[in-house]
Symmetry: C2
């Protein structure tokens, strides 16, 4: 029943590397193909129709690599394009929103759950709907944190300025006495320690990428798709453009050097 | 000799509204057509070839409005695509880099000039080359300030966090004892007061948009293209997408309400 075909992961850019990192921690022997649509990042502010077109193209790029499962690391696509990918892929598809919502409902005792994300993700209310579907009594408080993405990309993880910004964003959530907070953007795990500091570790942080990795593990087991090999896994990186400081930022998100990165031709915004 | 045809201004997004504001201050009776390519912002990280294609398309959109002069408010296009616009337009074209460089050389006594901008603009060295062309003895010190764009868009102009970030970015320039600093990004005038605070007003700030407005005034006069009407000018806004908080951010950059904004069809990244 062993299956060495790779898991495919895509994102609008580089943020999804935190999801690859979570997958590798949980499933160290699974091969992975990553596609980051760095030429067209960010997806957040674009219309749902455009995002759905992009999602279909991103899916096709992964399917060319004969992937056995697709992880949508992008919160925007998970919110507005999950069905497009599912219809096209004919392999299991895991987004980040439902696993993140599920982990939050499981972790929260008081059922007072905070969600932070980009303006697009927060406005979509995707996490609110997913959490309420799982627990209609849960109270959900959302907060957009637009400066967190550039701060994470700059690597300003331990600056006083970052802490001040985090305090301002998170203050309304502390007033609501949340006990659980969903990091609803693939960039935010980079800022986990400053978020923990500001919340004085009194709030359980849910990394949607880690939650998705758990769902992937369960799905592979259920469907007999696990790779039983104990060889070192092969992780391949594809992008649609090589932006400034790509290697540096990529390493920060992935946790170690990326090695060779391939550029996919034909996508240039 | 009066000419009521509009001045055309384009930018990769919303930042160019600070240039429109500078134009309106200097030339209150000139009609203006603005195009912001909000569907494909930012241009900075994209390849020169792609930026040049976009510049040609942006130019065509303005030409449809029978503009008498084109202002390239975008630093990236001014750096890598000025010739494309000039060749296509057959009307005078004013970028932001040469006027900004010229104003800096004129203002600097010690010929120690700082330039701040996006990573793309700083890496292009366009300001360095333009300043050295005007004064080969000038010393130029550049600093990318990637967090300034999101801070300006968020309107965090008077936060302690913004001051800390500005201090960190500008510290190396103060060590070089610059006496003049070019704001080499259309977003940065929004942060002018915090930059002034950090530099303790000992450095002359050059707003490239204001410098470009002066060049526009001179060019219109030289070429007999001024509008001699004393009627209130008509300013029209066109964008390729309406992103989140567009009206709010646009108002901050323009200095007053934008009124009606038209969406240009057919451009969707």
């Amino acid at each position: 029943m062993s299956n060495s075909r790779p898991i495919g992961v895509f994102d609008s850019g580089i943020g999804g590397l935190t999801v690859v990192r979570a997958l590798q921690t949980r499933l160290p022997h699974e091969n992975i193909v990553y596609f980051g649509d760095t030429a067209r990042v960010p997806y957040g502010p674009k219309s749902a129709q455009v995002v759905r077109e992009y999602a279909a193209q991103d899916t096709d790029i992964l399917l060319e690599h004969n992937v056995k499962l697709i992880v949508i690391a992008c919160n925007t696509v998970s919110a507005v394009g999950l069905d497009v990918v599912q219809k096209r892929a004919k392999v299991p598809v895991v987004g980040v929103i439902f696993p993140g919502a599920e982990a939050a409902v499981r972790a929260s005792h008081k059922k007072r759950i905070g969600v932070i994300g980009t303006v697009g993700t927060v406005n979509s209310q995707a996490y609110v709907h997913a959490i309420r579907q799982l627990d209609p009594n849960a109270q959900v408080f959302s907060q957009a944190c637009p400066l967190f993405v550039p701060l994470a990309e700059e690597g300003w993880t331990d600056r006083k300025a970052t802490e001040l910004i985090a305090r301002e964003y998170l203050f309304p959530l502390t007033l609501e006495k949340i006990d659980t907070l969903v990091l609803g953007c693939t960039h935010y795990p980079i800022l986990r320690s400053v978020i923990d500091t500001v919340l004085q570790k009194s709030v359980t942080l849910i990394d949607s990428g880690e939650a998705a990795a758990l769902t992937v593990e369960e799905t592979l087991a259920e469907q007999g798709l696990r790779n039983e090999s104990t060889l070192k896994a092969n992780v391949q990186f594809f992008v649609s453009d090589i932006p400034h400081k790509f290697a540096e930022v990529g390493e920060r998100f992935f946790g170690r050097k990326l090695g060779r990165v391939h550029r996919v031709a034909g996508i240039s915004a």
